[in-house]
């Protein structure tokens, strides 16, 4: 189907209800995968082991950024050409994996699945979150000079260059918008692909309403700093 070795990285924190379905969808789509168990306090690890799901078990919780970076490191260590972040909570649709891989094979370093590109329907989040996304899009436009319609999308594929860069440094929490700024600063080719997302099927979103103002301030600041810093840091 594809010439590249592709790995689907499924970060999972307390996702015992959804993880088996998510993995089945990825397998049905014909992809290799790795579940990154981010120190879940529920039964996620046992559910994975009992169902013979390939799992990278972080001995303690690192947050989404640390879990995704562990996936990048796994892909680098095992020689994959492309890795795709695919959330473990059932929001993402495995039908679009092919499109993301094609975008990378066509020369993009980072391909982002966007809910807002083209005429897609499906779950597009609440009004407040959409206001937040518009703000972040504007911020990325002004400071990183890049047009992204869905900056917080966690459905994204990385080529080899991006995998290497994200292995040596990746934001710890709320990493998506910040990593786009880093990619733009590193003059990576960033491409968006229209996708449809579903409402979460279980678990709890990592961003609750009260934390959203803190989230916006933090991510905005992170984007500015990413755009004005040199790229010699090791993290």
């Amino acid at each position: 189907m594809h010439n590249s070795r592709v790995l689907v990285v499924i970060p999972a924190y307390n996702e015992e209800e959804n993880i088996v379905d998510t993995v089945e969808h990825v397998i049905d789509a014909g992809y290799e995968y790795i579940v990154v168990n981010d120190g879940s306090r529920d039964n996620t690890l046992n559910v994975c082991r009992n169902n013979n799901i390939r799992v990278l078990d972080l001995p303690q919780n690192l947050g989404i950024g640390g879990a995704v970076q562990a996936g990048h490191k796994f892909a680098q260590r095992h020689g994959y050409d492309i890795d795709i972040q695919f959330d473990g909570d059932g929001q993402h649709d495995a039908r679009y994996l092919d499109n993301l891989v094609e975008a990378i094979e066509a020369g993009a370093d980072l391909a982002i699945g966007s809910r807002f590109l083209g005429q897609t329907d499906g779950f597009k989040s609440t009004i407040m979150r959409r206001v937040g996304k518009t703000w972040l899009s504007g911020f990325l436009k002004v400071f990183a000079g890049i047009t992204v319609t869905d900056p917080t999308s966690g459905f994204r594929a990385c080529g080899k260059r991006a995998i290497d860069a994200f292995c040596s440094s990746y934001p710890i929490d709320y990493p998506e918008p910040e990593s786009i700024a880093v990619a733009a600063k590193s003059s990576f080719v960033v491409k968006e692909i229209p996708v449809i997302m579903h409402e979460r099927q279980g678990g709890v979103s990592s961003i609750n309403a009260l934390a959203s103002v803190y989230y916006m301030i933090k991510v905005s600041l992170a984007i500015i700093i990413a755009c004005f810093s040199r790229h010699d840091k090791e993290a």
Binding site: V36, R49, N52, I53, R54, V55, L56, D57, L58, P59, Q60, L62, G66, Q69, A70, K73, F74, R77, I172, A235
Partner: protein, 131 residues
């Protein structure tokens, strides 16, 4: 500055220095982080031995009273120490994160390497599927 006050400050500083030294010798405080506190102790002892120098510096810098000068310097030192602690905590967060990831990667390799070599895992036939 009364003689009694000078004695109290000096005794306090010596006790603090001894406590810091004890923490270092019991390996509850690293030597490099103890230097900061020892420097603070020396500065306090010097200013209680030679209060006139302190008063004239304070006056020269335009502080209304020497106590304001002391509060200003003390606050500034504490802020600097607090910031350096944040830097240390951040570095450690990154190190722990990298170690956590490395442990998971090595554990994965160990489990899968062992099972594919021996051909029989602890959990039966489908073992290789999970690797």
């Amino acid at each position: 500055m009364s003689f009694l006050l000078q004695i109290i400050v000096i005794v306090f500083c010596v006790l603090l220095a001894l406590y810091v030294a004890r923490l270092v010798s019991r390996e509850q405080l690293l030597l490099k982080y103890s230097l900061l506190w020892l420097v603070l102790v020396v500065a306090l002892i010097l200013s209680s031995l030679f209060p006139d120098a302190l008063f004239s510096i304070s006056g020269a810098l335009g502080f209304e009273t020497p106590s304001n000068f002391i509060f200003f310097v003390g606050l500034f030192c504490l802020l600097a120490i607090a910031l350096s602690l944040s830097v240390i905590a951040s570095k450690q967060t990154l190190k722990i994160k990298n170690l956590t990831q490395r442990i998971a990667l090595i554990e994965f390799d160990m489990n899968c390497g062992k099972e594919s070599a021996s051909g029989q895992g602890a959990r039966g036939d489908n073992e290789d599927e999970a690797c």
